[in-house]
Symmetry: C2
Subunit: 155 residues, 2 copies
DNA sequence: GTATGTGCAAATCATTTGCATTCTC
DNA sequence: GAGAATGCAAATGATTTGCACATAC
């Protein structure tokens, strides 16, 4: 359960990022970052905002929206998937890279490791002369529970 | 250039889908489908709407929005990626499945085949007891032109 | 001290919906 | 002829922006 052994905390990473970019750090930003890293769950802006509210933290939605590009750029979070009309994110700093297996019916998400993808990326980089930054690999289908219900409905 | 050799046209596929579902086909829907398949490009709703307009085809945006779920369900199109605040789609009927390599700077997209993914899917299906429906695999990075510019800027 | 960040309220943009009318089956 | 689909205009929901004030460096 503790892959969270590393030199720098997420806050340190952000502080360094801010310094290098000539930005400014604020208590609001640290509150948001702490909340994002407080659970392993994926999040969307509204969810995160409500989590902050229920913890009596006063941060506005625009502050969250304005922070997200910096969190992406500093590598603390990444876009996970688009669903229900908006993007969902996940924090990635301090976790191994993983891909998602998602149920189309109930939304259940399983994370899995896939080591063969890095080889593939190297091949692509060579073949197309790209500097690969990363990938998004999402497999969708029906989980054990949901696929049972679907086969009932199908003629 | 001609992978487009198949028994049924996209319109036939849609007509059959409509019949099976007890829906109704309309000239507007056929116009939209023809326009989608008129180029190999990815599209978003607004782009498609403008393409239709410039071809003097009178179809409203809501009609496009209302058609998209059916096109997804019938397997004629799929979501390609989320960018600039909205989803982009691509038509897939009559084309081999492929993945995307996309440049983060200029947006240039290269399509590539990846046969090893189907093996991976079979493994996942077994391991997690999922009925796999498909996947979205997008690799991002910087294309040959753009990566040159970036290294200039970097200290 | 300056310029960046904050919160609020208003604006914007993509998408959806209500409704009267038209059209498909 | 009944139920679907269309187009329009209005509503919704996520995200962005303008602005006055606060605050980090």
């Amino acid at each position: 359960m503790s892959v969270r052994k590393q030199i720098k905390s997420e806050l340190d990473v952000f502080r360094e990022f801010v310094r290098k970019k000539g930005l400014r750090n604020t208590p609001e930003r640290e509150i948001i970052i702490k909340e994002i890293f407080a659970t392993h769950d994926h999040f969307d802006v509204d969810e995160l905002y409500l989590r902050l509210r229920s913890n009596k933290k006063k941060v506005s939605k625009p502050s969250i929206y304005r922070l997200i590009p910096y969190l992406l750029e500093s590598g603390l979070i990444q876009e996970a998937y688009f669903e229900d009309g908006h993007l969902h994110y996940e924090h990635i700093y301090g976790h191994q890279h993983h891909c998602h297996l998602r149920c189309l019916t109930c939304g259940k998400t399983i994370e899995f490791q896939e080591r063969s993808l890095s080889k593939m990326e190297k091949r692509l980089a060579l073949k197309y002369d790209f500097a690969i930054e990363g990938h998004k690999f999402e497999v969708v289908g029906y989980c054990s529970k949901c696929k049972a219900h679907i086969s009932e409905k199908t003629t």
